[in-house]
């Protein structure tokens, strides 16, 4: 069942109510993950109802209108949102997960929402878990699709094992709390159907509403202080080339040659869990379920067997090339190309080969 099929089936069932979507800011715009969550949310409702996007103030807010509110509204309108709630509160000057959940609880109750949706980011997962805890409702995390079955019953597909296993599940709840998997096959691009929904008369202006939640002191006990990261060059999450090293590297000294290759290709080194567990490299270089998810043009995996926890972190790579001594290693089934051999022989030869070519 694809998400778009789920949407039409939901409409046919008739009585699905409004859907609220937590939409996160990312600098001056809406986070890509949240635009995907909006697209997912739109598949849950009938065309007559639409999605309410809830935007919280950025860090450092003083509780008044933000200069970019109109811009965010326009971005959301383009993605089919008809109703935008801008949360404003003198108390909400930074990310506060319980206060965010409390706000969503109040908006969901006021609008009689059938579902509250968020991207399965750290913030989205955290806020929806708080919402589940304060309402006693179940939360289905990392959903790929959801289909309204009537009477508060939803048919779901969600990820387990960071996507290596799928679960078919039934959710029964007065309000479905769903997080949307990062790799759900939903395009954040505005579809024709969504455009129609958002602009029945040709005007794509959503309603912008300022809402002020009622917050208690307890809702604000957990509140983040944000400080810019000490940026040290290229980031693993966004690098165009990642050179991976695993158990086959053999020890902490073996990474120099991978670093050299990564430098040559304008990329960074990523490692498997065994490498960080052994203390050969720091954890921030780990690619996988408990490390960083990467999406480079090229992932050159050297001496990595390809355990599912590792593959969960690199399946968004455009191309995977493996260098491995074992032609039967699982990584070979995931890679597009492979060289069978010892990386300590292949990688230096590759560096020499690339250098020779550039001369």
């Amino acid at each position: 069942v694809t998400a778009s099929e789920a949407g039409s089936a939901g409409a046919a069932a008739g009585d699905v109510g409004s859907v609220i979507c937590l939409t996160e800011r990312d600098g001056p715009t809406i986070a890509e993950a949240s635009l995907r969550a909006v697209a997912f949310a739109a598949t849950l409702t009938g065309p007559a109802v639409g999605v309410t996007a809830v935007v919280f103030p950025p860090s450092g807010s003083v509780g008044t209108a933000e200069p970019d509110d109109e811009v965010l509204g326009a971005v959301l309108a383009e993605h089919g949102v008809t109703d935008v709630c801008l949360v404003r509160s003198a108390e909400l000057t930074a990310y506060a997960p319980v206060a965010w959940a409390r706000s969503l609880e109040q908006l969901a109750a006021a609008g009689g929402a059938s579902a509250v949706v968020a991207a399965a980011t750290d913030h989205g997962s955290e806020v929806l878990a708080h919402l589940g805890a304060m309402t006693g409702l179940p939360v289905a995390a990392n959903c790929l699709s959801a289909q309204w079955g009537g009477a508060g019953r939803w048919q779901l597909v969600r990820q387990r094992w960071a996507g290596s296993v799928l679960e078919d599940a039934v959710l029964e709840a007065s309000c479905a709390l769903l997080t949307v998997a990062a790799d759900a096959a939903i395009s954040p691009q505005p579809s024709a159907a969504l455009r129609e929904t958002s602009a029945p008369d040709g005007g794509a202006r959503p309603t912008l509403r300022a809402v002020t939640p009622v917050l208690s002191e307890a809702d604000l006990v957990v509140c983040a202080t944000e400080s810019a990261e000490q940026s040290s060059g290229l980031s693993l999450a966004t690098a165009r080339v990642v050179v991976g090293g695993g158990r086959g590297v053999g020890g902490p000294d073996g990474f120099a040659v991978l670093e050299e290759l990564a430098d040559l290709l304008g990329g960074v080194v990523g490692v498997s869990r065994v490498v960080t567990s052994q203390g050969w490299r720091p954890h921030r270089q780990q690619v996988g379920q408990t490390g960083t998810k990467i999406s480079p043009e090229l992932y050159l995996a050297c001496g990595i067997s390809g355990a599912i926890q590792h593959m969960a972190g690199c399946l968004s790579a455009r191309h995977i090339v493996a260098v491995n001594t074992d032609a039967d290693a699982p990584i070979i089934a995931h890679a597009e190309y492979a060289v069978i051999g010892d990386l300590s022989e292949v990688v230096p030869a590759l560096i020499a080969g690339i250098r020779a070519r550039s001369r």
């Binding site: 319980v98 960071a162 990261e229 954890h283 408990t290 926890q309 070979i332």
Partner: protein
């Protein structure tokens, strides 16, 4: 400070995951069990805290009788006490699990466990919520996804990363904190640790299962591509072919666009 650490027994999966014929479980006949990686770090963090500040570490798990093995693994790493919330074969959802943990905290005697640690999410079900549900039920603040933790008297200071920035939090004890792998490097069990763990008594409680509103029907492995990599060759002899492939993929440094494919630029 007396610390309670909640861990979960999960299948140890390697290169391939197989679902049992009835679609209800991950097949573990060819593998063993372990605990979620984030939780192993939670146990290490608790042990380090009590080594510095004094106090005890209690490790708790909810699972079948065999989950006592995972408790003993954690006792070998330096935890002092093991508690098993023994279940039957049914899957316990996050609501039922959190309720059982909250009830156990009440039953485990006078110690209120000022600090409760858990993993950010379980490796298998990935629900991202048991710690938060426990915190709400106990009326405590909850910090999640923590990569650096400092306990100074009654104050908890914690840091995590989000969208390239550091988020810092400060709350008072009692609190619930869920951590992520990378907060520390878990130690290996010592031989005396293993021996102590083998003899240690494990407290067993039997909580009541409850429905969760989210019901698993079946598990399946997503249809992967049945492809296999094109083998470019063996050893250094394969390097010219590999360089060619990298060139085609457009990832070689631009200065390499020389002779043959210069026109493409």
């Amino acid at each position: 400070v007396d610390v309670l650490v909640c861990v979960k027994r999960v299948p140890m999966v390697g290169g391939k995951v197989v679902v049992t014929g009835d679609g209800q479980h991950v097949d573990t006949r060819m593998s063993g069990f372990t605990i979620s990686p984030h939780e192993e770090c939670a146990v290490e963090e608790a042990v380090q805290i009590t080594e510095r500040e004094g106090g005890t570490v209690t490790v708790l798990t909810l699972g079948p009788p065999a989950a006592a093995d995972q408790l003993r693994d954690m006792l070998a790493l330096g935890a002092h006490r093991g508690v098993l919330l023994e279940t039957d074969d049914r899957e316990w959802g996050p609501i039922a699990t959190a309720a059982a943990i909250v009830a156990a905290v009440g039953e485990l005697g006078p110690s209120p466990f000022p600090l409760i640690l858990a993993g950010n999410e379980a490796a298998d079900t990935g629900g991202f919520q048991v710690g938060i549900r426990v915190a709400h039920a106990l009326g405590r603040p909850c910090l999640t996804g923590i990569k650096r933790l400092e306990i100074a008297g009654e104050t908890v200071r914690a840091t995590r990363e989000y969208r390239g920035a550091q988020e810092r939090f400060e709350v008072g004890l009692p609190a619930v904190v869920t951590v992520k792998e990378g907060i520390n490097l878990p130690r290996y069990p010592s031989l005396p640790g293993r021996l102590r763990a083998k003899r240690a008594e494990i407290t067993v409680l039997r909580p009541q299962w409850q429905a969760d509103g989210l019901r698993k029907q079946a598990l399946r492995v997503p249809a992967g591509s049945a492809r296999r990599a094109q083998i470019l060759g063996h050893g250094a002899a394969a390097v010219p072919a590999l360089v060619e492939v990298l060139s085609e993929l457009g990832v070689l440094p631009s200065t390499t666009r020389g002779d043959g494919d210069g026109a493409a630029a």
